[in-house]
Symmetry: C2
Subunit: 341 residues, 2 copies
């Protein structure tokens, strides 16, 4: 069931919001059915040609386990709420097995950070979304936030639907799309689905990749990066196509991508950029299963808070962490009053 | 107590060897004592000038957990025994808390691989080694092997003793010095002692380094590399002095260093070479504790079995794993008959 729960805070009371539910049953008449009862495919609102238009929006791609505790800094989620201009935040739990646990946590956190209009989107079955695209979710929205879970739940249920096309349109027109953990991986053109952590990549080993939502081109994104020892699998992925930049994002760390051009790092960990452009040799195309990866001459950057990276020139620049932290301090006192980027 | 247990196999029966024990009490008369009973420092046999002489020996530096099971390939330990020419193998368990468990395992393994003269060296107290340097251990020796354990146990008990000087001399004259895990780290000029695994390096964080045995110059060596997610701490180490090449060695994987000039990889995992020579920026010298590492433009190579690396030019070359494996197959049938390097 596709369900959207909107909570508006009345008089600033975050725990007393109104709730609206939308599900497939309410809007079945909007959708045609074929004679055997199968759903007809929905009309696409944006095709390949449209998707090449310049992007005005922002991506916030989080390596998982972002700080949500009330008495902590919550730097990253403050970056997210800093992107609202009084508008709606949509929390999409489609990736998760426990949406009922995640949603109230994020709802409370975003409300504590000053957001008045926080809406829940869960998609239990793709069919429900086909029947009821819930496009009105984006009316007045500033931020769309993917929680963690499993990457393939996001793409199998959401990708190719009218809602997903509307999400892309929202992003292209200037909206912020954020995602953590699985919600980070799906941002890429080709997403890393699974692979062994804490090991060097082996050629014959299953390193599962699949098409992602494609909001950030020419990248492969991995999360929980240093914590789960994932350098091996990220290098295994970029070795297969050096056009792609590998981005390994630590926990409680995020990249904020502006207009597909560059990103800045925020959070307590690091972002590893593996650029295979100058690679002189790899054995990854060899057919010997169980051979361990060889990969010569990768350019590796370790970026920490305030550092930035130009995705066009593939060059890092070091930043002004203190300036950033000051800005964030200010936005805590005046929630929503200042976008920090 | 410094104890050397030599086991000679009688008629090829590995479990029925003769045992000789040397301990401090037997040779106390060899060492002078000062009036208050303190031991006088031993005369050094090789000084700094001598240590610049060219090296004829070989290092086998193993990332830990090398395969020792009888029914497995034991590729790396066959490389070690391949360096014997019928001579002695000295197994030094000084790093370990459980030398009594490790020694019989390695003894059996080396005997199964065709070594007839396998000797045990444990050093319970440095004082015992000062009293009884056991220099005769090296008579007819081909290989000196450090087991795993704690790096600082090796250096605090062995470094600066006449036995250690004799070990260096043995290496310079063409002997093979092998070491696994802690025994790998000590080979470096500056050794990585401890640091957080599975995390990106933070500037204020304790990343403990100490002078190593210095057999391999200009390198910092880390082990259990991909398995324990140690890219963060290795980069934290090389960031502090880009002259040093960081070598991260996976488990059941080794580098075989010939004459300090180049090395070849053998084993099932990979060796990561982090070359910081072209680094354009790091924040590691900043005084802000708890800042996460920034490090731009590291050259990273992932080497697998058969690949080699020239330590002078800092260039990798890809190898001939199959040739190597064929050689090893042959040396299994004719143990000790062929050095594979």
């Amino acid at each position: 069931m596709a369900r959207a729960t909107r909570t508006r805070r009345a008089g600033g009371n975050g725990h007393n919001g109104k709730t609206r539910r939308i599900d497939a049953a309410q809007s079945r008449t909007q959708t045609e059915r074929s004679s055997d009862g199968d759903l007809l495919p929905p009309a696409r609102t944006a095709g390949p040609a449209e998707s090449r238009r310049p992007v005005a929006g922002r991506l916030i791609i989080i390596g998982g386990h972002e700080d949500r505790e009330k008495d902590s800094e919550r730097l990253i989620l403050r970056e997210v709420t800093g992107c609202t201009k009084g508008g709606r935040v949509i929390v999409c739990t489609v990736a998760s097995d426990v949406p009922g646990e995640l949603w109230p946590e994020y709802q409370r956190t975003f409300q504590e950070l000053g957001c008045e209009d926080v809406v829940h989107l869960d998609i239990e079955r793709r069919a429900d979304l086909l029947l009821n695209p819930s496009l009105d979710l984006f009316e007045g929205a500033d931020v769309f936030f993917f929680t963690g879970g499993a990457q393939l739940k996001i793409t199998t249920r959401l990708a190719g639907t009218r809602l997903c096309a509307a999400l892309e349109e929202f992003y292209r027109r200037g909206g912020t799309v954020a995602g953590t953990s699985a919600g980070a991986s799906v941002m890429a053109e080709t997403m890393l689905v699974s692979g062994v952590s804490g090991e060097t990549h082996r050629i014959g080993e299953t390193l599962q990749m699949a098409p992602g939502l494609g909001f950030l081109r020419d990248t492969i994104i991995d999360q929980h990066f240093a914590e789960r020892g994932r350098i091996g699998r990220l290098l295994g992925a970029v070795a297969q196509n050096p056009r792609f930049i590998g981005l390994g994002i630590d926990e409680n760390t995020a990249i904020i991508v502006e207009r597909e051009e560059s990103f800045t790092v925020v959070g307590s960990g690091a972002v590893y950029v593996a650029d295979a452009e100058d690679v002189t040799y790899t054995n990854v195309a060899e057919e010997e299963s169980e051979r361990t990866l060889s990969l010569f001459n990768v350019r590796l950057h370790v970026l920490s808070q305030g550092d930035s990276f130009d995705l066009r020139t593939r060059r890092p620049a070091h930043g002004f962490a203190k300036t950033l932290e000051r800005k964030l301090d200010r936005s805590e006192h005046f929630p929503g009053a200042e976008a920090t980027h």
